[in-house]
């Protein structure tokens, strides 16, 4: 009986590495869409190898329904929460700048001006802001 602690990411990484090694082993073999398949493998492998992210959000303010505004703001907040301190975050308002506490935040590591960023995320996700 073999007991195994399930580690999905580890298995996924190992599978992708094996797939890439196969592509190296058979460079001459002509497979339709091989190039595309290679690109897909490297794109997915990169997510395992490189962990740093740099994200700029462009956020509209004019939504047909407050529901969507709420979802958009919450989506940005959730992604911001998931970023590590080494990741970079930036934001530009592409709607009515008077409706948001801050029209833009220059792209910089998340750890810089962290309190201001947290405050901004809180402010745009309050009931007062939606009303």
């Amino acid at each position: 009986m073999i007991g195994m602690e399930v580690s999905f990411n580890w298995c996924r990484l190992a599978a992708l590495e094996n797939m890439q090694l196969f592509t190296y082993a058979e460079p001459e073999k002509k497979i339709p869409n091989k190039r595309r398949a290679d690109a897909l493998i490297t794109t997915q492998l990169r997510k395992h190898i490189c962990h740093k992210r740099s994200i700029v959000f462009l956020l509209d303010t004019q939504f047909s329904d407050p529901f969507y505004l709420k979802k958009a703001n919450l989506f940005m907040k959730n992604v911001f929460k998931q970023l590590t301190e080494q990741d970079s975050f930036g934001y530009i308002c592409i709607g009515n700048a008077e409706l948001v506490p801050c029209p833009e935040m220059v792209l910089e590591p998340k750890k810089f001006n962290l309190n201001a960023k947290h405050q901004f995320m809180r402010d745009i996700n309050t009931d007062e802001h939606y009303s």
């Binding site: 195994m4 090694l21 700029v56 969507y68 958009a72």
Partner: protein
């Protein structure tokens, strides 16, 4: 309130160009793994739009990327209870020109959350997990 002035309509395009410029200031590191060179960090521009009044020029975005020598992925999420109109083709084109960018028009409220979660996966990274612990039991244990 609809955006009628040209400046307002061009705000998406000019903001994308500005964001590409910002991304230029974030240094790229090269990581080699199994003989392949990867760029670190992953650079993304995520646009959350409430309507399709914004104009977008595919060529100006492409040229800005070339000028900045940057590989930036662009995703555009349209959040409106109606389908985006004629400009959605331009939005799709800009996203499609990037490696991993997607254009999504979310119309139904009930599927909004799950679609947003799926979009979030496109720019997520997978942290290193510890190695699985494989425990082989003795033959006597197997017979029990």
């Amino acid at each position: 309130m609809k955006r009628t002035n040209k400046k307002g309509q061009a705000l998406l395009n000019s903001s994308i160009l500005k964001a590409i410029e910002w991304q230029k200031d974030i240094p790229n590191e090269k990581v080699i793994h199994l003989g392949h060179e990867y760029d670190n960090p992953h650079k993304w521009i995520i646009c959350l739009l409430g309507n399709d009044t914004f104009t977008l020029n595919n060529n100006s975005v492409k040229n800005a990327m070339i000028a900045a020598n940057q590989k930036v992925n662009i995703s555009i999420l349209g959040l409106r209870n109606e389908e985006f109109g004629i400009r959605s083709k331009d939005y799709w084109q800009v996203c499609d020109d990037t490696e991993e960018g997607v254009f999504v028009n979310i119309k139904k409220k009930d599927t909004c959350r799950s679609i947003l979660d799926q979009v979030a996966i496109t720019f997520s990274v997978y942290k290193q997990d510890k190695l699985p612990i494989v425990t082989e039991l003795s033959d006597s244990a197997l017979q029990k």
